[in-house]
Symmetry: C2
Subunit: 388 residues, 2 copies
Amino acid sequence: MNNTLVILPPAEHALRAEKIRRQLTATGADGVLIHTYVNIYYLTGRIFTGYIYLPVQGDALYFVKRPVGMSHEGAVEIRKPEQIELPGQPHKIALELDNLSYTAANRLSAVFPYAEITNGSGAIAMARAVKTPYEIEQIKASGIKQERVYRKIPKLYHDGMTDIELQIEIERLSRLEGCLGLFRTNGDTMELFMANVLAGENADSPTPYDFAMGGRGIDASIPVGADGTVIRPGESVMVDANGNYTGYMTDMTRTFAAEPLSDQAMRAHRCSIEICHRAEAMAKPGTEASAIFHMAEETAREADLHNYFMGHRQKAGFVGHGVGIEINELPVIAPRSTYRLEKGNVIALEPKFVIPQVGAVGIENTYVVTDNGLQCLTNAPEQIVIFE
Amino acid sequence: MNNTLVILPPAEHALRAEKIRRQLTATGADGVLIHTYVNIYYLTGRIFTGYIYLPVQGDALYFVKRPVGMSHEGAVEIRKPEQIELPGQPHKIALELDNLSYTAANRLSAVFPYAEITNGSGAIAMARAVKTPYEIEQIKASGIKQERVYRKIPKLYHDGMTDIELQIEIERLSRLEGCLGLFRTNGDTMELFMANVLAGENADSPTPYDFAMGGRGIDASIPVGADGTVIRPGESVMVDANGNYTGYMTDMTRTFAAEPLSDQAMRAHRCSIEICHRAEAMAKPGTEASAIFHMAEETAREADLHNYFMGHRQKAGFVGHGVGIEINELPVIAPRSTYRLEKGNVIALEPKFVIPQVGAVGIENTYVVTDNGLQCLTNAPEQIVIFE
């Protein structure tokens, strides 16, 4: 097809389309109609408002509402979904039913009265869970820039600074380094602004959101993260910042402090590093995601730190998650996961502890699964960093 | 009920609940089950992951998944929606079908096999479109802080600065002033990072998003806003920043420049101000939203600026929108709107122009509808501001 709309290299587009097609087989669909920005970005390397029909056999079709004028790039320009015409009237069409609103899904289904509708969200999520070499390069590029930011964080601190003041300077530094700011999440249980900076006991404040750590926030309308606490000697400052320097994110956490922390906190931090290093060696293609969680939990238990593992007053139910275009992709590293790792999975592992009177300690790295174990893409120093 | 979960003043909670109940009448529902964060925030003044059942008669019930431990505040703690039990088995339950995913809506519907399910999204949106005096105070507070930031913008500029560099300093200033950063939107056609700063001809780049203005962005994964253009004399810099200093936003745009712009651009900017001032006088309870759009368009036409009104290569189909917890609430100020203004509506009006070779000019203000017309809540100077 004469199509200039796809800005990915043609082989890359073909590879991603093929990965989706393979996953679609299980649904029996003749094709999938894609509407969400993240999946449009996945298939084309760009964002438009509209639809892509990716048939199991044949080339993709592009129906674009905005921006206007994309017909010369190979798109059919539409004003509303009712104008979508699919050749050959497919018998079974997959829609992104986990992400489209109920109203939108019904409206879209009604456009194809001849077709059975099925859910394609899971198939695309499974395809996206295994990154292509091209995607891994994007994630690596984000990781390098994020590392550069993290190395400068100790210089940002001054005595008497609050957590939110530090966060604002980290945000600025990240943006100057090229961070896009926007933080794409899947589902309806996450809201965050660019970073989670947790100082001292604020780390023990439960949050409504599905994050590993909490924090009160500075306003009841967004109860997570920094709450205006003054950073004090003897308390930890955990920085979990947004690593989207490309359309693909890295997720990295490091712990900072004005002076060395209590023995228990230092020990918990070393335990977090130990869990990551054990995971690096054990996680290979075929490893069960649940086994990594159990290893992490067991390592914490052996160190008698189980009560503080993944939170204290409120605990997270996972120790890691896939990351890519969105912060919470497959696989989830959780006790009941049935996922077995594949080469090309990119996962963030965040074995963290909340120590009373001290705060949150531990690290988070983003890794790609290789035949030899995990390769780390977020290479800032792992020990607790003392502010300069 | 012994309930400490609602942190709004009790009379304010009662007023909002009553406004929703009144709108629900048209749906015939016995109650509405609320899950989205924005509507949970509307009814309680806080955010949790879970559900509120607001019956047409009787007190609301709270089912909370996260944070844990809210039973002592009057909530029923649940792990999954299947644990929700509604007293008296209502015959007809409204769900937020415009916002819940298809999958989530079906799962939730299945919890109530005895009930007919209807859509409550529109009823809540209509209730939220008319702000209470308490909400208007929140919006005013945001407007005062946003104005403070805008007055400092001219000092941020230096020769040779790019649009994104300026934006980063505006972001920092906003955050230091208390901006929460997070930008809540309704629907699936908006993504933005905190501000839209458009310098020169970048303003004429069409965007996929449903914003009034465009911009290429700095990466294909988020094609809107600043693109790294160096700010040049003779070109405009439009700053449309995120005004969420409370859980309620103001929306304000001002235009800046390093030196006075072309006559046509200056004229278009004055036309934008003129449109706002005409709207301030004409928009009263009972005024049709569409009439304001037509007045704006007609004013632009009289000034022979119609080709540049609300965009040049790509035009927006509206000149204003409701604003509150989300940036795009009801009413929409658009040609086909059937909405008649009510006292307490809060609307942002943004009659903007994109002038070739110059860029975007015009202003945006947030107003509350009063018996005497519009009261402006975003009171920074309206003329084009020359950088210091």
